[in-house]
């Protein structure tokens, strides 16, 4: 197949990485699930005993149940909060305010899961913000912490962007004929919503629900930290089994969690197809009426507070004068910042996190862009399976892959090094890079690439000169996203560090398990400031580089106002 050599060469690095690291680890894990550890420490291979223990033990089914319940409640709550939020954002007329709103909703993604979880601990704790508000009016104190409810509240907060984004996308496809429909008020508006807007946005809603459910059943740090040992889900169970050195049971639990994720994927996919068929009614216009505009603004304000509150509380608490999370802080001091810089191993952890995140980002960008080009610009045999394979890591819960990597890297004698961390992190961020770059490439004009080749550019140079400028904003976004995901990764990384290694989020995770003092608030505040600075820089960069990406060469276009020599 000489003809398709380029296509396969472009795909090869990703395939090698995924086969060598991801598939290798998952197969090792599968093999391990057919082991059994006896109480005296003997290791028996080729047995289904551990599977039998898992499948027949009522305790394990209870955990599976709790995982599903937690996932369902979180998903429903995220939908109840996220749908009206997306709708309200869609109604915001000034695009500037819409972008501000979207930025607020998405801003928490830039901060570590551990930070956000910590923020909720400060709010929901016995003497936290919530109880300090409820008690004076005689409603408290309520005990929310170390219960399922606190885990749900924090998970909804953490996963809200994943619900809002797909719904915003599908709302964006509706005809934004605001003014036109403004005369149609009251019952008419409601009926139109039920008959038109809701059905047309159902795919977005299901897409969001799919993401939130998948991410919540596999979330580890939040239930582990806020559940206080009382919220036992599969993810925490795997971690406990590993700590108790029952690796076969951890392997079985991992596959149970994976099975759950796959079933969920199937169910949501089925739902998506069903509504997709029902939706082909051919309605296009669905303007939002201007009625109740104030109500929507109030709703948005409440959501913004909910989204930003944990971050604000963290910042305030970092200046607290006392070591416990009481509200309001009795006095102000900077001692937690001083304390922070005295922490042992924090510098090394930060350095390792940066090192791994930068290496994984670069690696994933290079091989991910290559495989995206192969998928979009070539029609070689095996394209479909290749795409599924490249995206498959998204289906596997990170805890499961983390534990699999733990065993696998041990076998390869790579455990405890930086290389193992970099390749596993690359596996995790690769699908995101591929998704973002693929979408950008599909929008990019392939004839520009052909034109560059025609004018004498060899394929690689044609890509650099003609295609790259078109997809640059997407590449920046993908790189930023990959960096953030890798830099904040906890669920997988906890399994992959040797005792003398630490990454920043894992350091925070471990610290939060042991201590409650605002040192973590000080660190989180610094991270929030850094994230905001990076986000602002990137936004400015994107605005600068994106200026000409929107200009097309459609010949029908009228002569534009010309500023000679501008931006040359």
């Amino acid at each position: 197949m000489r003809r398709h050599r380029t296509a396969y060469l472009l795909a090869a690095p990703s395939v090698v990485l995924l086969a060598g690291v991801f598939a290798g680890a998952m197969l090792t894990l599968l093999e391990y699930s057919f082991h059994q550890y006896l109480p005296d420490g003997t290791d028996i291979a080729h047995t289904t005993a551990t599977w039998q223990t898992f499948l027949t033990g009522g305790y394990h089914w209870q955990i599976v149940g709790e995982t599903v319940v937690l996932g369902l409640i979180t998903t429903v709550a995220a939908a109840v909060v996220g749908y009206p939020t997306a709708y309200a954002l869609h109604r915001v007329r000034q695009s500037r305010w819409r972008y501000v709103g979207l930025f607020i909703i998405f801003a928490p993604l830039l901060t570590s899961v551990v930070s956000r979880t910590y923020g909720w601990e400060l709010i929901l704790g016995d003497s936290g913000v919530l109880n300090s508000l409820l008690e004076p009016v005689g409603l408290g104190p309520v005990e929310l912490l170390y219960e399922r409810s606190s885990v749900v509240i924090a998970l909804v907060h953490i996963l809200l962007p994943f619900m809002v984004f797909p719904i915003t996308q599908s709302l964006g496809q509706l005809d934004p004929a605001f003014g036109e429909a403004a005369g149609d008020l009251g019952a008419g508006a409601f009926r139109r919503f039920v008959k038109v807007t809701l059905p047309l946005t159902t795919p977005g809603l299901i897409g969001g629900a799919q993401l939130v459910f998948a991410l919540s059943i596999s979330s580890f740090a939040t239930p582990s930290l806020l559940g206080g040992g009382r919220v036992n889900v599969l993810a925490t169970e795997i971690y406990d089994n590993v700590n108790n050195v029952d690796w076969p049971l951890a392997a079985v639990s991992s596959y149970a969690l994976l099975a759950l994720a796959v079933v969920a994927l199937g169910v949501f996919g089925w739902l998506q197809r069903r509504t997709g068929r029902a939706e082909q009614g051919g309605v296009t216009a669905a303007g939002a009426a201007s009625s109740g505009a104030r109500g929507w603004s109030v709703w948005l304000a409440i959501v913004y507070v909910y989204v930003l509150l944990p971050l604000v509380i963290i910042v305030i608490n970092s200046f607290s004068s006392v070591s416990y999370g009481t509200w309001p802080p009795p006095g102000l001091s900077a001692k937690w910042y001083a304390n922070l810089f005295e922490q042992e191993g924090l510098g090394a952890a930060t350095l390792l996190s940066l090192e791994v995140a930068i290496a994984a980002t670069i690696l994933a960008m290079v091989i991910g862009t290559a495989v995206a080009v192969s998928l979009v610009r070539h029609r070689m045999p095996g394209r479909g399976p290749l795409q599924s394979f490249v995206l498959s890591p998204t289906v596997v819960p990170k805890v499961a892959f983390g534990f699999a990597g733990f065993i696998y890297l041990h076998r390869l004698n790579l455990f405890g090094g930086v290389a193992g961390l970099v390749v596993t992190h690359t596996v995790i961020v690769l699908p995101f890079v591929v998704i973002v770059v693929t979408a950008a490439l599909m929008r990019a004009d392939a004839t520009l690439d052909a034109a560059a080749k025609d004018l004498g550019a060899a394929p690689l140079r044609a890509f650099r000169l003609a295609t790259l400028p078109q997809i640059r904003p997407a590449l920046i976004a993908a790189a930023l996203f990959a960096f953030v995901v890798s830099f904040d990764e906890v669920d997988m990384t906890v399994f992959l560090l040797s005792p003398d290694q630490n990454t920043l989020p894992v350091w925070m995770f471990v610290y939060m398990q042991k201590f409650q003092d605002p040192t973590l608030a000080a660190l989180s505040t610094l991270l929030i400031v850094a994230a905001l600075a990076i986000a602002a820089t990137v936004a400015v960069l994107l605005a600068r580089s994106g200026v000409f990406s929107s200009l097309t060469t459609s010949p029908e276009e009228p002569v534009a106002k010309v500023k000679e020599g501008s931006s040359a």
Partner: protein
Amino acid sequence: MTGAGSSSGPDAELRGIRKVYDNGARGVEQVDFTVAKGEFFSMLGPSGCGKSTTLRILAGLEEPTSGEVLIRGEPMRGRPAHRRPTNMVFQRLALFPHLTVADNIAFGPRLRRRPARQVAEIVGSMLDLVDLAGYGKRYPAQLSGGQQQRVAIARALANEPAVLLLDEPLGALDLRLRVQMQQALKRIQHDSGTTFVYVTHDQVEALTMSDRMAVMNEGRIEQIGPPAELYRSPATTFTATFLGDTNLFEGTYEGGLLESEGIGVKVTGPGRAVSVRPEHVAVGRGLTCANRYHGRLEDVIFQGASTRYHVRLASGVLVISERREEAGSTLTVGDEVETGWDVDAGVVLNH
């Protein structure tokens, strides 16, 4: 590259080109033609007949499934686009939106590592050639459609290609601009002396601009020749009907007569069909030509320099006549009339 092989042989030659795309779609079935040096050669055909495919194969942007491409006598097999002495003006222009007009034009020369001064000279002379001096610093989006078109042509010519390939370059322009650009293109071709292979599905464009043209249909060449020859002596029913209007009578031949849909048409020789151009069809009363039929005048369409008459014969067949003179001006719709033509006005077709 222009200096190489400036012998008297053809600039471009396609031999037995066939292209099946990876998804099984048939791009072209069988294409053969040669283009002489300095010639303006057009490919004309309906949408999807394989014009762009043929051009992309010439450019090296697509590998033919079988067959051979020669440029200036040199086989191009396995030679990718960026190493061929051809350049293309794309159906959708494909100007680089992030580069200025000057940088777009300089794109090719810079890739060929021409020194900066020479690049500036080329850009200057190309802008002059396409009448866009002073527009170098603009971005493509700041130009009108016709201007963008000329930039695309200048960019392709800046590499001094042996053959310039143009894929419906005027397709997106309105009629007035299109006529202007047709003249500009002819002038540019004349001034640069470059061989043009020009794709269009506008027959007027092909007829007026080409030295020679090929009519394509369903991935095959129907006929090649100078425009007048193709118009006057079409070899196939497809060419006859696709180029201009015609009265086509299909039927069976017997003894100098073609029996078609209830009428007999005297023809010059055996064949499957006969094509009679409307301008060779007379209409009126007391005609003397060899083929004469009675019918009813169904429509009279005044077209300025000429007038068209639609005559419905008793058999139901519609005959169209186009006359320059005022002879028929006394006729009105509904009149019983005669219509007819001489035997040698009919072109006998066998395919």
